[in-house]
Symmetry: C2
Subunit: 154 residues, 2 copies
DNA sequence: GCGATTATCTCGCTGAACGAGAGAAATGAT
DNA sequence: ATCATTTCTCTCGTTCAGCGAGATAATCGC
């Protein structure tokens, strides 16, 4: 194996990993009557809820690159599924706050819980120094992709 | 930082990385008038072409989890875009072979080329032993996700 | 040959997401 | 204070990816 092969193999591993994660999410979504977009929205809402942030339809649509009409449809869907609740903001009554229901938390737990546990389990096969290398590596790769995205894929 | 925090941070890094890669792909796709499915199909076709394998609509649809009607639509789209060409298999004239056009190769190069170069560049900041750790780490994580997917997300 | 199987495509439909724009509430200038 | 502007959400009508059902055509097994 030459010295060029090893990094290239890592690139393919990265790609393969993202494909697997996507498929995992897609299968979970379809089992629960969710569309890919719904799952992405749910993840975003749960992240925000955990960070103690308030999400409005506008912000959600922005995060998912949906226009306002599509966002309304998405919020309607999530509300119909009992995952979120609309609530007028008393401070600024133009705004609607999206409250995450208990059911959404449970669903998120079902999605992430098991997988995260397994990932953490697999990480126990690495010592702290190795995990630190992995962290630096992932940070470096994420930085590259983020930068490339900002610059715009040519 | 406790010892539990570090692995959890790695989980979030992994997730963040896949999100960034997805967004990168989605932006590239929409810039070129492609749907997410079209890009996934293109990647699949280019991979197969590089491996010297022949792809038929049936196999492509299977890989992307589309039914036959959806697959026909997808192939129509790709053909209309001049990315692939339909060709009857002379051996088994029920089958159609999907030939990848030059244009698709160039498009794939535009998508992967720059990003891969940047990723390889960033990897030069790691010595061989570290890259080996990263490889083992990614393989372990991929294994977990693949296994979880087969078992079925609960 | 002839029925069963395989591979692809056609038809009609559903629904996610879009563009355009309406409607309500807040903000700022005069 | 009032009126124009801006902000936020939602409605309407449309487009199009993907689905289910089934038609069509070629191959294979007996």
């Amino acid at each position: 194996m030459s010295e060029v092969e090893e990094p290239m193999r890592l690139v393919h591993l990265l790609r393969g990993l993202t494909v697997e994660l996507d498929l995992f999410g897609a299968e979970f979504a379809s089992r629960n009557g969710l569309h890919p977009t719904d799952l992405r929205a749910l993840i975003h809402l749960l992240d925000a809820a955990r960070a103690g942030e308030v999400v409005t339809p506008g912000r959600l649509g922005e995060a998912l690159h949906l226009n306002s009409a599509g966002t309304t449809g998405l919020v309607d869907r999530l509300e119909r599924l009992g995952l979120i609740r609309r609530e007028r903001d008393p401070q600024d009554r133009r705004r609607v706050l999206l409250r995450v229901e208990e059911r959404a938390m449970e669903l998120g737990q079902g999605f992430f819980g098991g997988l995260i546990g397994d990932l953490l389990g697999a990480m126990r096969g690495f010592d702290p120094a190795e995990l630190d290398v992995a962290r630096r590596f992932l940070e470096a790769m994420t930085g590259v992709v983020t930068a490339a995205r900002r610059a715009g894929p040519e």
